[in-house]
């Protein structure tokens, strides 16, 4: 059994976008280092409920790093200090006894705040809706092995397709750009033969929608790559710039 920890949480509380927000500090003692940070928030919330106070709102669901629901800043870093990790997979053994963690919501114009650590990321879905697919109806598919895709190419397409849509890339970018998110989807489909027929139209439509939704431009700081829980390479942004260049 490992020793327990004392952790201070300094959390952004804002009941409603129309009301002012501010930080609130809670000290938790005797917590197990085997808890995840979200489980620590659960524990805090149980205490708040027991005291008749409003619990902290944060997004979460699968708690195994794949649904993309969770995400907030931990000490200024999207999803916290550990690489290739969404915040639900951040365990307290990562932190020192007595450490203070500052938790803030994603801040981006395209992600309006809902409450506390929760924001509205539906703009990402609207970008996908603009063209992030192969236009094939159910029942139109040819035999699966009729299309051969080289192993390395398939692997690379898969790697870009692993984006979980959490929004960390946007939150960590000083321009709140969604370039990595869009590049990942374009690269997933453009690397496969199935994605070729709509390749140019898709690239144009998705980048236009990204701008219309209020995301900023890329200024190559590479923060997005550093915080991406799926480690999607920012090289794909350079690739996207060539992809969207008019012929």
């Amino acid at each position: 059994m490992s020793a327990t920890l004392r952790i201070s949480l300094r959390i952004w509380r804002q009941q409603d976008p129309s009301l002012p927000g501010g930080f609130e500090t809670h000290r938790l003692e005797g917590v197990s280092p085997d808890l995840s940070l979200l489980e620590l928030l659960d524990l805090l919330n149980e205490r708040l409920i027991g005291a008749g106070e409003r619990p902290v709102t944060f997004e979460h669901d699968c708690r195994e790093g794949i649904c993309g629901s969770c995400g907030f800043m931990v000490n200024g870093q999207a999803h916290g200090p550990r690489a290739a990790t969404s915040v639900c997979q951040l365990y307290l053994r990562q932190f020192r006894d007595g450490e203070e963690l500052v938790l803030e919501p994603w801040r981006a114009r395209a992600f309006p705040l809902l409450q506390d650590l929760s924001v509205d990321r539906s703009a990402l879905d609207r970008i996908l809706a603009a063209g992030g697919y192969c236009s094939v109806n159910t029942g139109q598919a040819p035999e699966a092995n009729a299309l051969l895709v080289g192993r390395d190419q398939a692997t690379s397409a898969f790697e870009t397709a692993t984006c979980i849509g959490c929004g960390a890339c946007v939150a960590s970018c000083r321009n709140a750009s969604a370039n990595l998110f869009v590049a990942a989807k374009l690269a997933h489909l453009a690397q496969l033969p199935q994605g070729q027929p709509e390749r140019q139209r898709r690239a144009r439509a998705m980048t236009e929608r990204m701008a219309a939704e209020g995301f900023g431009s890329c200024s190559s700081q590479l923060e997005c790559e550093a915080v991406c829980p799926k480690q999607i390479s920012a090289d794909w942004i350079s690739w996207m710039n060539r992809e969207t260049r008019p012929l």
Binding site: D16, P17, S18, L19, S32, D34, L35, E39, D42, I49, G50, G52, R54, P55, T57, E59, D61, C62, R63, E64, G65, I66, C67, G68, S69, R82, A84, T85, Q89, Y91, L114, R121, S122, D125, L128, A129, G132, Y133, C134, S135, V136, T138, G139, A141, E143, A144, N145, L147, L148, V149, R151, A154, T155, T162, I164, G165, H188, L192, Q194, G195
Partner: protein
Amino acid sequence: MNVDAPSRHDPHLPAGALEGAWQRHRRDLPLISAANKHKLRVLVVGSGLAGASAAASLAEQGYYVSLITYHDSPRRAHSVAAQGGINAAKNYANDGDSVTRLFRDTVKGGDFRAREAGCFRLAELSTAIIDQCVAQGVPFARDYGGTLANRSFGGALVSRTFYARGQTGQQLLYGAVQALLRQVEAGRIELLPRRDLVELVVVDGVARGVVCRHLVSGQLETWTANAVVLASGGYSNIYYLSTNAVKSNVSAIWRAYRKGADFANPCFTQIHPTCIPSGDVHQSKLTLMSESLRNDGRVWLPATQADGRAPEAIPEEERDYFLERQYPTYGNMVPRDVASRRSRERCLAGHGVGPGGRSVYLDLKDALARDGKAALEARYGNLLEMYERITGEDPLVTPLRIYPAPHYTMGGLWVDYHLMSTLPGLFVLGEANFSEHGANRLGASALMQGLADGYFIAPATITAWLAGQSQPEVGPDHPACRQARHEAEVRIAALLAPRGRSGGLRPVDDWHRELGHLMIETCGISRQGPRLEKAIAQVEDLRQSFDQEGGVADLGSARISNSSGPGRGIHSELEKALRLQDYFGLADLMLRDALARQESCGAHFREEHQTATGEALRDDARFGHIAAWQWRQDGPPQRHVEPLRFNEITPSQRDYQ
């Protein structure tokens, strides 16, 4: 036992040979012209594989679709977490696989508690699913020549599982969700995210809509349609700790059950053998380690009890590879229920390792020596990382510690061959229905079933149903809608005015943990008559105590914008309380079902009914049927029976030795 007039639970199975039956049946289903489909709306609840694929396919045909999900985005539905793969009888491995063999494996794996016709259709459709997903751009694993790669999975001797590293569910879901978003852009699908279903609307005995609570504004909304599809997933979270996403819940199907959709085989719940074991009280979930790891990992425990040594210090001859010992043919690849039961047994016998002796080793050492680190990382990369992140241990250095955890529920709403419930106009898809997995689901079959239901079956059968209907106009002001909304308001108001000691100060999770503990102890891997009977009374006590003392604080603040509804604004405790109420009802039904089924089959293991070697002992004469429970306002639910007939495969004792 009640044998009913066949009308209520007539499965409407096709006549003639199983092979090609679905195609023959479909040929004669009524159609609706494209022009008329534009006048019809279908409401889909849930955006996982089944819901997203059904919504996209229906919209492509011309229907208007409303899609309700509690997530902020359809891409987050829990199908996203499925790791291992999806089965299909393509026989690309040329190892003797065929539709018939997949069909047989499914029926046998389900321990002869599923319909032959449904399983055969599923096996037939499996190949078209792979074609569809590949056409969408799902990046399945490939061999060097560019063809699709396969691996083998528990309960099968052939390689028929298609996969995308350890993220197959994610990739399949994104394919379906992208098809869905394409229809959103086309204006055919109205996306209604961040909503919980709280009541079903029934008009003249037909499902016509839902009342849901908007999870941000807190307002109640009524949505109506010509048909309702529930694809809301399973109910493993009744156990509190499970591999499901923490918000996965039973409420959609439970509310439908209370409105006349019978619940089939609720006690058939699968406990997955390979999960990361629990530790702290505040642990919020159990994380699954895909059983594909059993391809390369060997399960073992120390041969001596309470062996305190580190795994590396235990010599080969003092290790008991108990699955390989007990099942020489299938070894570590025995079906899930068998692996879970044997693991629990060895731990109870004092051989378990880890905290409380509640885990077994899954050792990759031999595979590492044989294939090398790079090969294992390519095969399981993200799984191994995930394990390391959660436990702080590197599985390529020290064996993984695993223990069974609730994972999937074979039970669900009863549906006929058309996937329609006993409530006309209500279709149930994917894990939410009870259909093809019988008493135990085989690995890599959930994704197959969800997509077969959503892409291929429901779009055909919903059309057939609507073609025969002449329906009255129903809008949100219809008396039935107002009534359903009123019921929802009353329920919420009661929860917001907690009586008794707790005054809303006892967290809902605290009650839920108590219920979950009771259920896993009495209605988990192993069940026993007297314990089940006692648990029914205990659940009732707990339910009453929640009724009297439970509830949530009213966080209402007049200043919150757009929040005049009950439970004003975001209120996660209210969401939990509404779900917990439904779990109390379900717990009672599961226990009754487990008690009434006096046999062991698949995942349902009654200690009174086992063979000399400790295997499940079926009683086909008395229980060769599906149990469908009907809700009753006054009094306990009524158990009905749909007999199962096996013409193609003779039921046999499952033998994986």
